[in-house]
């Protein structure tokens, strides 16, 4: 232990502790900007670039960055001297002198960390005048918009993309005043290996990285009387949307969300959970088919579009292992524009499917060539993130918290508990196992429903489940760095599994890149996951193959699961992509 003094308070902390950590421990607040420690997902950004956390250390002539300086025995630290306070103000003023000060019209107005910092330090005037960096916005990606003019060079995105996700799209490039966090060869984002997971957006303190905004197009479609606009909502949206309206983290707002969508003017308010059940029917069938016919195992879940893009760029030799199932919202689109359109007597060409997703990669996915075509055009026309939906609800003047609870519309609105847990890490594989357990052991009068061994928050988990006298080994990874480890083991023949679930975002979709900002607090993700499991528990039907609307769909339209019609509408293919 090391004895130190901070602002005349004596304390003792373990060796290696930084001044910032020690100060936080005893309730002394030091402002920070670039610093970000998320130990749960092994994200450590201690680059010390912003100098906002400067403090005075007795015996040192210059000021010291608290975030990246370890305490030493007998250190006497002052965080609240005039010199330290002035230095921090100067640093923020310098940052602001090269920042477009357009807070009123900025996407991050109200959630920007630089804005809060300026408020906290009471900045009223920026003394420094000089040239500002001017760059073009990169709007090439279907998911993420880069605006380097608003970048404070904190390098959180770089750490997230390189260390946590191991994708490596960002790096500090060029030099001095021209330095920016850019891509290889200044390539537009669309031409890089970016998986569109949006985790960089989740940790960006400003609006340098934001999601593409599709709300205007959706409002247009809703207002167009010739179009029939269908909304579908992902499992993880209903447990986070409330946060945008000040409700406690983990509040389930399924009923209010449905009511809000109806008020906004969607013609049908339906549920991606229905399609999650459909996905399980197909994926469990594909799994059993591969098992019985000597197909390649493990089977990898394919619900997560960022993970699918990751394997296409990084492991092109493994493209035969992911399940060929489209992701649930894409299945939904394909069925809505055929089966549902026919049932409703709506011209499929006039039907617009809007997916409300916790995800930014779904925006990219919706633009994939292989997910349009057939007779239906694009399966999904627009994807909105949870944040975008919240903005639209506010824009429409809807008092969200006062809304009554309403149900989804029918035909594609029913869902099981198995689909609800798609929203968190381990959920998809548990849903598959629930159904496979029944199908492979039809004699068992009381098949298992809850598979606790598949739940949890560790980055890579493995477990074996047994039914019908057979043992199945499954693995679960969330976060693309963990996915890479698992895939490398498979590639090298070190790991033998029957099935694997991979989600690109830490904690799965509850931590998705399109979710309300978690404020750098990972506890939020755990609470959201709890809400997902509560939703599951509250359902009367908890296995996908018992969903009556799904069964009706097969009976009336699709025929057999994994059959010909199902292949045509519900399955897809993958393509090799460059690594850059």
């Amino acid at each position: 232990m090391v004895n130190i003094t901070i602002n005349h308070l004596e304390t003792s902390v373990p060796e290696g502790t930084t001044i910032l950590e020690a100060a936080r421990e005893i309730g002394v607040h030091i402002p920070t900007l670039c610093h970000l420690d998320l130990p749960d997902i092994k994200m450590v950004n201690r680059v010390g670039t912003c100098r906002v956390c400067m403090v005075e250390v007795e015996g040192k002539w210059n000021l010291t960055p608290a975030c990246s300086t370890a305490v030493t025995p007998g250190m006497v630290i002052h965080t609240d001297t005039l010199r330290a306070i002035r230095a921090r103000r100067t640093v923020v003023e310098l940052l602001l002198s090269n920042h477009p000060r357009e807070c009123l019209t900025c996407e991050r107005n109200g959630t920007c960390e630089l804005q809060s910092l300026a408020a906290e330090l009471g900045i009223r005037e920026i003394k420094f005048k000089g040239p500002r960096i001017h760059t073009e916005k990169d709007t090439t990606s279907y998911s993420i918009v880069r605006n380097a003019e608003k970048c404070v060079l904190c390098r959180r995105c770089e750490t997230m993309c390189n260390e946590v996700q191991t994708v490596g799209v960002y790096s500090a490039v060029h030099r001095g005043f021209d330095c920016l966090i850019g891509t290889a060869f200044d390539l537009p984002m669309l031409e890089t290996s970016c998986t569109c997971c949006g985790q960089c957006v989740s940790v960006c303190p400003t609006a340098a990285l934001t999601e593409t905004d599709d709300s205007a197009e959706v409002w247009e479609a809703i207002a167009n009387p010739d179009l029939y606009v269908v909304a579908q909502t992902a499992p993880a949206v209903r447990v986070t949307l409330g946060e945008e309206f000040g409700l406690p983290v983990g509040t389930q707002v399924t009923g209010k969300m449905t009511a809000a969508l109806r008020k906004m003017g969607f013609d049908k308010v339906l549920d991606t959970d229905f399609a999650a059940d459909l996905t399980i029917m197909e994926e469990a069938s594909e799994f059993i088919h591969r098992m019985k016919h000597g197909g390649r195992l493990p089977i990898l879940t394919s619900c997560c579009p960022a993970w699918v893009k990751f394997i296409e760029h990084q492991f092109p030799d493994l493209l035969d292992i992911p399940s060929t199932c489209k992701s649930p919202h894409e299945m939904f689109g394909a069925i809505a524009k055929t089966y549902l359109a026919r049932k409703l007597g709506v011209d499929p060409a006039k039907m617009v499917v809007v997916s409300i997703m916790p995800c930014l990669a779904k925006k990219f996915e919706a633009r994939r060539e292989e997910l349009s075509g057939h007779e239906v055009g694009s399966n999904v026309d627009y994807v909105l993130s949870t944040r975008e939906l919240a903005r639209m609800i506010r824009e429409a003047g809807i008092h969200f918290n006062a809304l009554p609870e309403e149900d989804f519309d029918g035909v594609m609105g029913e869902s099981s508990g198995a689909s609800a847990i798609f929203g968190t890490t381990g959920g998809v594989i548990e849903a598959v196992v629930r159904t496979a357990a029944c199908w492979l052991d039809p004699e068992n009068p009381n098949p298992q429903i809850d598979f606790q061994q598949l739940r949890g928050i560790e980055g890579i988990r493995e477990a074996c489940v047994e039914f019908a006298g057979q043992k199945f080994c499954v693995a679960i990874a969330h976060g693309l760095g963990n996915a890479r480890k698992l895939l490398t083991d498979i590639q090298e023949g070190k790991a033998q599994y029957d099935a694997i679930e991979i989600m690109a975002c830490p904690s799965g979709c509850v931590g998705g890149g399109g979710q309300p900002y978690h404020g750098n607090n990972m506890e939020v993700l755990t609470q959201r996951a709890c809400a997902v499991y509560n939703e599951d528990k509250g359902k009367s039907v908890r296995r996908s193959h018992e969903n009556k609307e799904v069964l009706a769909l097969y009976k009336e339209f699709l025929g057999e699961p994994y059959g010909e019609k199902a292949h045509e509408l519900l399955h897809t293919r993958y393509q090799k992509r460059d690594q850059i």
């Binding site: 994708v167 790096s171 500090a172 490039v173 060029h174 030099r175 891509t183 290889a184 060869f185 200044d186």
Partner: protein
């Protein structure tokens, strides 16, 4: 000018690999920190760091191409574009400057039809400026590759260019 006599060799297609880079990589006892030596070697052999070479080095070291590009753009010593056979550097240090170096630079720009930092279309000359080369007694000074020209006047510029045009390809 022909290919064979050029100072640098045209970078090979990535499919064929870059043997000089491979050889240096294999000879390094510690592969950590190999990035800058590999980039130096590539520039020495090929004259500049093409995108293909940067991607090749990235794959060799198993690091993102963005990181390689970050390092290549950080150090001004690395060229990202192909340079001319002769590198003309006009000194703009204080002594040269007060003795009219700017008019010398302008004369080269006019004679070659290019601006500072650019390369002539025929690949012969790259024009740039440098700061003091320590030969202030000879101001204004022009360096062409390693050769120093002192007390240059705007009238000398054409002669100097022609002299090198004559050498081109030799």
């Amino acid at each position: 000018m022909t290919q064979e006599t050029a100072e640098w060799t045209e970078p090979a297609e990535p499919a064929e690999g870059y043997p000089e880079i491979d050889a240096l990589f294999d000879s390094l006892p510690n592969k950590n920190g190999a990035l800058i030596p590999l980039l130096h070697k590539a520039q020495e052999v090929y004259g500049y760091l093409s995108q293909e070479i940067q991607v090749y080095v990235a794959q060799k070291l198993n690091i993102p191409a963005a990181k390689v590009f970050g390092v290549a753009t950080f150090y001004s010593l690395f060229n990202l574009e192909k340079k001319g056979q002769f590198k003309i550097n006009v000194c703009l240090g204080t002594a040269c400057y007060v003795r009219g170096a700017e008019t010398i630079l302008a004369a080269f720009e006019k004679e070659l039809g290019i601006d500072q930092t650019e390369t002539t279309k025929d690949g012969m000359f790259t024009l740039d400026s440098i700061r003091c080369v320590g030969a202030c007694g000879l101001a204004p000074v022009v360096m062409i590759d390693d050769k120093v020209y002192g007390r240059v006047t705007p009238g000398d510029v054409k002669t100097i260019v022609d002299e090198h045009l004559g050498q081109g390809g030799q």
